[in-house]
Symmetry: C5
Subunit: 273 residues, 5 copies
């Protein structure tokens, strides 16, 4: 699978900008404070241990792997794949699809086609695939929820660290010359809490939400496509229908590579706009 | 297409007011701080690179072009266009609509009419057009989501910049005479973050939301109109029905230009209030 | 139409309290600062120019007029009006309602009755009236959205003004004796932003929301009433049904003025509680 | 009706804690500041006069009375009441229920039973009772909305009072010895705004929301029960069904007092868990 | 029932981190302040007494017990349990399930099976079980609401305590040497309010939400399973269907332990992806 390096680059660029901004006018040593990192990251993680089942938290590394995988033009590729499958099914019968299953690497589509091959009723296929899509959504939305909660808890623990620093500093106000360095240290935890929330946790939660939406829209497209194959719809018409799930730009690209269609006009009618 | 200059004027007016307000009592040099702009804009953009697919972010310039296009009185014009199309369809048959397609520049309407000409079933037409409207909404709402997220991240990175400035200043508190200028510089990033969020990103997100709502309401009107043409509804009655999609003011203007109607009373009955 | 002076009185009372509170311990001159008002009001309005179509913003004065109009006991009056119309319709036929239309000043009801007189099908009447109610709601909710957005932007621009003042003051920290007056001036924009949001924009948005809800509930009642008249329901029963749309207090008042009813018990059965 | 003293006790306990906390380390005179109370309470009330119809605000005392009334175990009592009514209806006919109406003090149930006695169709009964429940919810949710809005406006006016105090103090910074007392006075309005919101308005809004939810769930139970009586359902079965509306604990208590049932097993089947 | 120690460990770890962070640079005595704890915890609890029925608050200890119970792999175990029950029902008839009831410790499942044994209609079984699931959700969501409200009120009362401390300190500003210790004490209540909200109340509310979602999904699975048993579905097919309620990982584990199935392919078709 193609790697998606953009999120990693965003993270590196953001960190570089912050460090550059520090070096511009100050000393980075004021920002290197391991206890601040510990209280912000592990303190908020302790709260996560109460908030979510341990099983969900153990899954965080897998969720992060998702960030690195490129979604690609999956729906664009599915359009021609479905057209091909539909042609084969009309020519050689639904059972002939069995030979194609090995070549398909979308497991949701594979299980949909297997149900068709097994001769399951259309309504049952829809029920089973929708329940599957719901399970996928449940799993994904739990991942989102973890990072969203983390993005709230990290700045809160950063604030707690700053409060601790402030209280200690204020209680020892004998030597006014230490006020500055005391407050500086106190503010570093707020800095870490805010940095982690805004450069890491909030963007990750947002990324997962977009990917979930995309995946569910693709699942909806696959359910439609599988049922149309079972119903024996004309391959050309099926392709037209599925093109509607693409955004207009990909739709045009996809059509340029499919010259010489039969009913060109209907094609345009469906896909314009 | 007519340009809509109001948003640009709003942006210029807002900037002018801010600059005037600065010049009134201070020196604008205190606000010219390139690193502050860089950390606020590019820092938050780095986080956006993690939050959204790169494809979505590349589309930002196109989204901004939408801001400049004037929505105009599209629905008002559609009312008489539909009445005309309906008359032609009843006189010369549905196939005669084909000659009109070139003159229509609303691609959503064109594709709807093409489906009618191709003799597709009403239920299928509704399904296809609603799926299209959903795709349009998905694309638009992603644009909104980007600017909404940006409007949250920009002040957050502004705050981070201020925190960095404060920590550096507090750690070097040897020379109290520099406190003022240090805090002033630190606050400039907060100023930029807040200015960008409130004068640029929040308004753009709001503008896109209003445009999407309008476009979807227009799509709903077109679906209704196309299906009524296919059903061969009386042109007069079709016009009355579609007038309901206008707000009362435009409705009255539209009626003034359509004197000498057949069933004047029913007209008033439907469109009063 | 009866004027509703309560909102105006609320605004005056709020302003008077704020001024009294200032005079109690300080000099009002510290709060008279025209540039602060300009940056808060016009700065946030500039952002509104980007956020909403100009047509919507031009409509603000009309929206404000709505605040001054008294909603009155519209639904209470509609109950007896419907009973009367129903009696007339049963005695003289539906066409006889035509003579009554001029006496009714609720345009939504007039258009509903006209549809009945024109002999439109019940289902079409419901569709048309519901689409009308939706258009009313769309128009109203845009008005709300403008004031809600303004109530967010005004304090934000107030804060921006304060930031500008603070940065200027901090950058010129040569003369410590001016710190106080500098900060006082800086805070005045925050004061204006917060005052406008909390005494003007938030309450107006809330008021519009309540009025929209009321109007839609009245529309629902009118749709029900119009269809019952068309169906030729017993006037007594129709009145009982419509009384359900009143709140219990108005319901009792309304019944006291309708002594000597036929089926007293059913009346109580429907309207108790 | 039994009084519910818990909310009053909560209010007294909260106030006592706050006063105790003040007396512990300071002088309560610093907190007695009538103008602060006036600006916070009446300032925010002025904004409420703009936000809501005057009729709604006049109703506040009645809403507060609701807080003091004990909801009791209404649903638990309804279970046996329904069983009894059902037995009577099956033995002596639906008309015999008329004699029971005087003994029932739930007006919603009374009106439901009266509709049954009057021989209204089941579907109409459901429509009428659901519309009634909707009216009740509308009235209640307006009460909630008032206190929710008040809980936002009170701290905002507290903040405004503090801003006024700060600006006045900063503008008269001639005598630094008065800074402390000036800021103390300024902060008192923030204190009152926050105290009122968190100890009074937010809890009242929350209380009303819980009561509305309970009342609507009871209404749903009564609608079910009334329709089952009309349908002549077996009293034992009706009781079983209605027990489902109780939470498990009350369910068990209720069953302990109903020894010697006929089909014990089915009873357990329905109500376990 | 297996204990779930993770939440307790999270709480201990979080507390340990906070204490370690304090000891690192200061004296823990500055943080030991019983009145601060009292005002934060009991002040916010006083407000809860107004916000919720006393019955709900009395239930808090039971809700906390839920946190300690391990949800385990309930759905995984239910799959094989349902397969077994289904086999028995097909071999010996539905009445034979009665012997199994004692061995099942999920009361929701027991009551569902009892309804099947009693020969209740499928539609009634679905209604009864869904009403039960709704009651469970109502009870759970009240628990969540309490902790969510508490997580808002605790920091608010912490802030009130800090305001009280600040006002007292500022009013007695005679001796500047006490400013530090006065502010330190004032901030301790903010510290406690924030600590309780972020380490205790917010995580507990989140935990309860996750558990409720899981329980409702399990209830949905049980309703499906019970109705399939009543319909006499093939045990193999029933197992396949219920496997869809598991997440893919558990699904695979579950399948590994069920070697030698009849229609291996359909199995894969349904559960891939």
């Amino acid at each position: 699978m193609k790697k998606n390096l953009v999120p990693t680059m965003g993270l590196i660029a953001g960190m570089a900008l912050i460090i550059w901004s520090i070096l511009l006018s100050g000393n980075i040593n004021n920002f290197v404070d391991i206890p601040s990192v510990i209280i912000t990251v592990f303190g908020s993680f302790s709260a996560l241990l109460i908030s979510f089942p341990f099983k969900t938290l153990k899954n965080i590394p897998n969720v992060l792997k998702m960030l690195l995988s490129s979604p690609g033009n999956e729906r664009t590729e599915l359009v021609s794949l479905f057209a091909e499958l539909s042609r084969k099914a009309r020519k050689d019968g639904l059972l002939a699809l069995e030979d194609e299953l090995d070549k398909i690497n979308n497991p949701f589509l594979v299980s949909g086609l297997q149900l068709v091959i097994d001769g399951v009723e259309p309504d049952s296929i829809r029920d089973i695939l929708e329940l599957k899509a719901e399970t996928i959504e449940r799993r994904h939305s739990t991942g989102q929820a973890v990072f969203l909660k983390w993005s709230e808890l990290a700045p809160a623990f950063g604030m707690l660290g700053t409060l601790i620093g402030l209280i200690i500093m204020l209680a020892q106000l004998d030597d006014p010359s230490t006020i500055g360095i005391g407050m500086a240290t106190a503010l570093v935890t707020t800095f870490y809490g805010s940095l982690m929330a805004n450069l890491v946790f909030i963007p990750i939660a947002s990324n997962l939400k977009v990917q979930t939406d995309e995946e569910l829209f693709t699942a909806q497209m696959i359910i439609e496509g599988v049922l149309e194959i079972q119903a024996g719809t004309n391959p050309r018409l099926l392709e037209e229908k599925l093109l509607l799930y693409l955004n207009p730009k990909d739709r045009n690209n996809s059509k340029k590579t499919n010259k010489g269609t039969e009913n060109e006009k209907s094609n345009e009618a469906i896909n314009n706009g």
